[in-house]
Assembly symmetry: C2
Homo-oligomer: 217 residues x 2
């Protein structure tokens, strides 16, 4: 995956629309990002956070008590990375072993969203990013919850998508070796839902849809 490192970062506006669409599609396929920034002493932090894309922005949220959220809220330079691993790439040589994946690295800064209505809507978006349709099945945030939530809008100033797919790239000289080579696809699968111990209700539509489409094999 380190090939990512060699990619030049280009301005979103200068890139073809299919690249922008690729960035958006990779972001929309997940809900877990790794968010990086550096302290004033140069110490980097990389923190796992939930996110939801909103146009050219990425919404992030956390507790107002979080020291690291407060650092991000100051508008320092940040980096939001999202990676999906799609398969194990098993080559005939150690050197050509790899993974199939889709990744996005976004650069930008965050601003705090204070507006209560926008915060309510953003929290609903986070819920639907975890599970489409779930926001309508649960109670929206109240005033106290909004006050406890720090909501950030990270503007994507630059972004770089990187995708590897397909079979191993073995050296021609290795192809005659009596060694297997190929790809093992990796998928996310969902197991049967476990109701909360105080919940007597059957699973809702969002969960039933998830299990119908995402049974993992």
């Amino acid at each position: 995956m380190v090939e990512t490192a060699r990619h030049q970062v280009r301005r979103v506006k200068e890139r073809a629309s299919y690249q922008r669409e690729q960035v958006h599609a990779i972001l929309d396929a997940g809900f877990l990002a790794h968010v990086g920034f550096a302290g004033s002493d140069g110490q980097p932090f990389v923190i796992p956070m939930m996110y939801a894309r909103d146009g050219e922005d990425i919404l992030l949220h956390g507790s107002i008590a979080s020291r690291l959220m407060k650092s991000l809220a100051e508008g320092i330079a940040a980096c939001v990375s999202v990676t999906h691993v799609d398969g194990l790439v098993l080559a005939r040589s150690h050197f050509h072993h790899s993974a199939n994946y889709r990744s996005v690295v976004c650069f930008g800064r965050a601003v705090v969203v204070d507006d209560a209505a926008q915060k309510v809507a953003a929290l609903a978006r986070f819920v639907d990013a975890i599970l489409p349709g779930r926001a309508a099945e649960s109670r929206e945030a109240d005033r106290n919850e909004l006050a406890a939530t720090l909501l950030l809008r990270f503007s994507i100033e630059d972004a770089s998508a990187k995708v590897r797919q397909g079979e191993p790239k073995d050296d021609p000289a290795d192809r005659g070796l009596p060694l297997w080579a190929g790809v093992v696809p990796l998928q996310q699968g969902y197991a049967a839902p476990i109701a909360a111990s105080d919940c007597p209700l059957p699973p809702p539509a969002s969960v039933r849809r998830l299990l119908a489409v995402g049974d993992g094999t």
Copy 2:
């Protein structure tokens, strides 16, 4: 997941051994890390990279042509994060929606490993980190491949593990609402292997073991 941000980072040596074991177990459960560092201008980068744990160190590797690998190789402060998502936590309120997960955030610096034998061994470890037993089924690195590989040994100076598991934590006042709450477990599943187009052999033992234990549901 932003609760991670509130965790104080403590010296590894000051922490109980079970915490160290927890850090190691979370690292050993994966092969994809998000590696962060800052440029001299404070710009943070978060790059997806494969890794393999070796004692208190994390091995990283990449191309000698990689600009970002070269930055890491200079021994600048870095952060290596690994996160496994184990389930969707669906609460009765938007606010209490979450995910079950295991994450580790490691702080330290990398040094370059130049020794050829150590590089050969490390590349084999990367292969076995992707798929146990696979290194013995494929050709080890030759001199040219070693010369093209930048191998880094990242020393874990500080580490913080964070785990969320179990059911949603709804407010007492919400428990009587006619809303479902619970957890949907999320698992990695492997699909049937796809042999390379020029490979007539049947899948090897490593792949057969993977499919026997990891069928995703």
